[in-house]
């Protein structure tokens, strides 16, 4: 195989259809950028889930009378509930938070806001904060064991709150993937079309090649490499775009919730993790599309 010959043919082909090539690279770049964004969303969701599974508790809020009367969970109602929880194998630990402690945390949480002034310690319940060994089964078991017991006001599973965030993140992921799929179809058609046009503009060359006995690889490889080059170029642009997007938009957009520890930040490492995947998808899809097009539409 004469590589100099193949390279020369590829360069000629790309230059000859320059507008088509640019369109193909950009469309591929956009669809791959969307796929990349989707992958980053998945990664962030996974890490957020991990972040929360360590932190999330089930709160057993006590009724007002128990909350006021018992400041250290020493009285029978509270300590009874506590030992019931602690005896369960699904429970890792139980921590008591008194009205006063809840009030202090509340003050800290809403520091400088008018909400901080309207609340009195008496209006907040004391809670038993339960860490679980098994968040799935444990939360349900705690709920069943506690709801309706004397001294229990209600049971709050923090995962219910967090799941709204997860729903939002999965929504972002699904939307980007859906747009990516539509965009990918456009990119596929463009690649297929460009390969056809490229083969058509070079039909005399290809005719001569067949006639003098060039092998299939010699006749097809330039077209395939052309497609792969645009796929790779699209992937590189997509990766750079995601990196730029991270610094210009994502960091700003998420800065609040990231610094509060609500979700983990999107790191440069994450983009570096996504790039090779995009590169493989870009090159692979372009090569397969090119090959199939040549097989179906172009007689070589």
């Amino acid at each position: 195989m004469r590589s100099d010959f193949v390279i020369r043919e590829v360069v000629t082909g790309l230059r000859r259809n320059v507008t088509m090539t640019v369109a193909m690279v950009l469309t591929t770049a956009i669809s791959l950028a969307l796929v990349g964004t989707g992958l980053l969303a998945v990664r962030t969701i996974d890490r957020t889930e991990q972040l929360y599974s360590d932190r999330v508790e089930v709160q057993v809020a006590l009724t007002a009378d128990v909350s006021t009367a018992d400041t250290d969970c020493s009285q029978p109602v509270c300590s009874g509930l506590r030992s019931t929880l602690e005896n369960s194998p699904l429970v890792a630990s139980v921590r008591f938070e008194s009205q006063q402690q809840a009030y202090e945390r509340y003050l800290q949480l809403f520091k400088g806001q008018s909400l901080a002034e309207v609340v009195r310690p008496q209006s907040l319940p004391a809670t038993l904060r339960v860490r679980l060994n098994d968040p799935e089964a444990g939360a349900q078991a705690v709920r069943e064991a506690m709801v309706g017991q004397v001294g229990v006001r209600n049971v709050i599973d923090q995962r219910d709150v967090v799941s709204k965030l997860f729903d939002f993140l999965s929504g972002v992921r699904n939307l980007t993937f859906a747009v990516a799929v539509v965009q990918a179809v456009a990119a596929l058609l463009l690649i297929s079309n460009t390969v056809q046009v490229s083969a058509f503009t070079r039909r005399v060359e290809v005719g001569v090649m067949r006639l003098v006995g060039a092998t299939r690889w010699y006749t097809q490889l330039p077209f395939l490499i052309e497609a792969v080059v645009t796929g790779v170029a699209g992937a590189v642009i997509a990766s750079l775009g995601i990196l730029a997007g991270k610094f210009l938009f994502i960091d700003d957009l998420l800065s609040g919730i990231v610094s509060n520890g609500v979700i983990p930040p999107v790191e440069v490492g994450d983009v570096l993790w996504v790039s090779p995947i995009l590169l493989m998808i870009g090159a692979g899809v372009a090569a397969v599309t090119g090959y199939v097009t040549l097989r179906l539409y172009v007689r070589l």
């Binding site: 003098v212 006995g213 299939r216 010699y218």
Partner: protein, 229 residues
């Protein structure tokens, strides 16, 4: 060298076979004219030899290869043994004369130094030495056909197929092209030329194979174009 045994070719779109039980045997080093009116099957004959198409029935052997049974991936090997020249030259307009000849060698994987050696040699053989850097449109029709012949001959094929190579040329130029084909024939290359040109066939006095309505109607060792002329 080339052997057809009861070769029939039917096209789906036609009720009459394009070739009808044609048997021909052409020896190595022969010079053969393939004549007949338009639609007589000459082009089909050449296409089958090149494995552009496969016969409906019969066997074709070219240079010891069973053409019809040749697997796809070995078709290039067959075509590397056959050179081809056409009425319309089929040169690459954006490549120089030398580039056109080099292209044919490059695409079959000949190393660069071999290509550099062969191109001037073969251009000299066809009488185009010194014109390697010209573009095809700067040449006369006869010269363009010489480039096409140089390209076809560059890989030293054992068979040269020429499909109406003088069809676009005036009589004098045609005569020059025939001299060139004769010279190539003298190197031992079998030449099979499809033509309508009476004067050329009559003056050369070579073997004539005539087709009519897909049938072989004549095979003269030293023939002329029209019977009895």
């Amino acid at each position: 060298m080339i052997r057809l045994e009861r070769v029939t070719k039917m096209y789906k779109t036609s009720t009459r076979p394009a070739l009808d039980r044609v048997s021909v045997d052409i020896e190595r080093g022969e010079f053969v004219f393939l004549i007949g009116p338009s639609g007589s099957g000459k082009s089909t004959f050449l296409r089958l030899l090149l494995r552009e198409d496969v016969p409906t029935k019969g066997t074709i052997t070219v240079a010891d290869l069973d053409v019809a049974k040749l697997p796809r991936r070995r078709v290039p090997r067959l075509r590397q043994r056959i050179g081809c020249v056409f009425q319309d030259f089929r040169l690459l307009p954006n490549k120089t004369v030398g580039g056109n000849v080099a292209f044919a060698l490059e695409v079959i994987g000949k190393p660069a130094n071999t290509v550099r050696k062969i191109v001037p040699e073969v251009l000299e053989l066809v009488g185009l030495d010194g014109k390697a850097e010209r573009m095809p449109h700067e040449l006369s029709g006869g010269e363009q056909q010489r480039v096409a012949i140089a390209r076809a001959f560059a890989n030293r094929p054992i068979v040269l197929l020429a499909d109406e190579p003088t069809g676009n040329l005036d009589p004098d130029t045609s005569q020059d092209i025939m001299l060139l084909l004769e010279r190539i024939n003298r190197t031992g290359t079998t030449v099979l030329m499809a033509t309508h040109d009476h004067s050329i066939v009559d003056s050369m006095r070579r073997r004539v194979v005539e087709l009519s309505m897909g049938k072989l109607v004549r095979d003269d060792v030293r023939g002329v174009y029209g019977v009895g002329r």
